[in-house]
Amino acid sequence: MNSVDFLQWVRGPAFDAAVVIFVLGVIFRLFGILMLGKKPDLAEPRGGEWGPGLRTVLSRSLPDRGTFRREPVTVVAGYVFHIGFFITLFLSAPHIELFHAWFGLRWPALPTPLVDASAVITLLALVFLLAYRLANPVRRFLSGFEDYFVWGVTLLPVLTGYLAYHHLRLPYHALLALHILAVELLLVAFPFTHLMHTFTLFVARWYNGAASGRRGVVS
């Protein structure tokens, strides 16, 4: 199999399989969580659930003042990584072409130098976050195999994408195939790891905010 054949396989059957695992996996996981249900609360409510639940879904994106003061590094590095990753994923021209091919939707891309910068920043943030995970006593203590594995499968697509775009080190076809393979690895790992937080955090925040709202606690 030469690099062109490999590319064909990677972006054909392999990609389809990865997407199926990702989509079905995420649906099953979410379904599995929600199916567990929650006992009805018989205590007389002091406030509503929906409004505060939805508000918390948004408001938890911002840290409280004390947390920011005590742990600014985690907060800032977390923001930088997430924003950088989303820009790189959703605002780069080649990716938008792909989304257009799949869903028929198109949106404006950022100029290449900006997407480039965001990819570099995302990579730096990831490297920094790994170093911080190893150096910070709380994080190192909490971390296990899954945390480092998830870090790796998140880094690889960004790194290979950057190299492929700049035709660095390897022939373009080979690099593109590696990039797509890395994305497939991410997609397949997604439903089985806490990468799922991308979706489940909305559920978690809603439950938290709704419980507070019911008791009349401002969220």
Binding site: G32, T56, R60, S61, V138, D147, H194, M196, H197, N208
Partner: protein
């Protein structure tokens, strides 16, 4: 009522109870507690560690074991092994690390001694995990497995058998009532059928702060509302909630509910006690599996209503510099934030706020049953440094709060660190400023 569970977990009898059976009961209780919120929380945690910085047991010791989410590790593994694809697979092929009795024993300190159920972590988690909800649930499994601390087991047994965690009996209350009547010149109503309000107390109030009973008597007299105490159910605290034994918690709650129904009151007043409010107001109907035929209000909610209705007439003002310590359960489980501040302003002119207050307040260090766990005393005093720092920043001359347990814990902390800081309950402070009767 399941007193069997109590005797099984009591110190000295653990060896008699078959360990395996205990662990099995615990495992069963853990799995029983896992619901959609808990599954969504465990699925979302990315081990960012921010919750550590929301917990006074971490901030004051810097020991990573006290990171709130870590306190739930056995529960998380059980969830993973029973409810996730890889977890189930690993369990089937024997690769999963099972939760053992020794592990649960080691976790007892983390789930009880170093968690006051203050709920601050639940307000900080960026993915929205309600961590305190999970700790409360996890205690059910810990108690069933026989790993609740001796101090809490004793308090719970006392409450079930003698009606009070501190062993306070009706004769003690009656003696305090006689003192209050003598001091105020008013009658304290006992077992008055058809009164509007039923007042209940924490043992701590009956024994250490009977001023609260006197304060209620004088405030209700001025407001012209009818109220009563029940000779059958006067204890508000609920060790069953703190230890994590829902059947016992329900038994304790049912005593209050029966008394309230018998006396046909419209409202039961939860006293100046944080977790009693949590137990009666929020957990009670769910544990008893029915809605109450009466309302439950925290005393501060009622006092603020009386104020709004013009029934709380006050005079003079404290001019010493003071601050208010929010009881965690009141602010984070009840949203009672503004009421104490409104009331306090009526009787004090120099009020300052701690740097993190209201829903983001810091715990006294002794809530959630921690003050009843003897072996936790050193840790609790260490954790108190959080509150000490907050108080030192303000340089106040008086501390006002609305929870007898907070007050005892704070007084012990202040003593231990040689601080000078008089404390008073808000209800009592208001009563001191009532307009004289014409």
């Amino acid at each position: 009522m399941n007193t069997q569970a109590l005797t099984d977990t009591a110190p000295g009898t653990a060896a008699v109870a078959p360990r395996g059976a205990s662990l099995e009961r615990g495992r069963h209780a853990f799995l029983e507690e896992i619901d959609a919120p808990i599954a969504s929380f465990f699925s979302s945690c990315v081990r960012c560690g921010l919750c550590a910085h929301a917990c006074l047991f971490y901030t004051e010791t810097e020991d990573p074991r006290y990171t709130p989410i870590h306190k739930l590790e056995p529960l998380r593994r059980m969830w993973r092994q029973e409810y996730t694809f890889w977890g189930k697979l690993a369990k089937r092929v024997g690769l999963a690390k099972p939760v053992t009795d020794d592990e649960l024993a080691a976790w007892s300190e983390l789930v009880y001694d170093s968690c006051t159920l203050c709920g601050r972590c639940s307000r900080v988690c960026p993915v929205g995990n309600d961590i305190v909800y999970m700790v409360r649930r996890m205690r059910e499994g810990m108690a069933a497995a026989g790993h609740a601390p001796a101090g809490l087991v004793r308090a719970t047994r006392n409450a079930i058998l003698n009606g009070s965690p501190m062993g306070v009996k009706l004769v003690t209350l009656e003696a305090q009532i006689r003192h209050v009547e003598k001091e105020t010149g008013l009658t304290v109503p006992l077992d008055q059928v058809g009164a509007e309000y039923l007042a209940i107390f924490s043992s701590m109030e009956i024994v250490n702060y009977p001023e609260y009973i006197a304060a209620l008597t004088r405030i209700f007299e001025q407001a012209g509302v009818t109220w009563t105490i029940s000779s059958e159910a006067f204890e508000a605290t609920n060790a069953g909630i703190q230890i994590g034994q829902s059947d016992l918690a329900a038994e304790l709650l049912s005593r209050i509910v029966k008394a309230a129904e018998k006396l046909k009151v419209k409202t039961v007043i939860s006293p100046e006690c944080g977790h009693a409010y949590l137990a009666l107001r929020w957990e009670g109907p769910n544990l008893l599996k029915r809605a109450y035929p009466f309302q439950v209000k925290h005393i501060l909610e009622l006092l603020d209503e009386l104020r709004a209705a013009g029934k709380l007439r006050l005079r003079d003002s404290e001019d010493s510099r003071l601050t208010f310590h929010d009881p965690c359960q009141l602010v984070r489980q009840g949203g009672v934030v503004q009421e104490p501040r409104t009331l306090l302003k009526l009787v004090a002119s120099d009020i300052v706020e701690m740097n993190e207050t209201g829903v983001m307040n810091w715990c006294c260090g002794g809530g959630g049953g921690v003050s009843a766990i003897e072996r936790a005393e050193n840790l609790r005093l260490k954790a108190f440094r959080r509150k000490k720092t907050q108080l030192d920043e303000l340089g106040v001359e008086m501390l006002v709060t609305a929870c007898a347990n907070c007050r005892v814990v704070l007084e012990e902390g202040v003593d231990a660190y040689n601080m000078e800081l008089p404390m008073v309950g808000l209800t009592e402070l208001l009563a001191e400023h009532l307009e004289e009767r014409p």
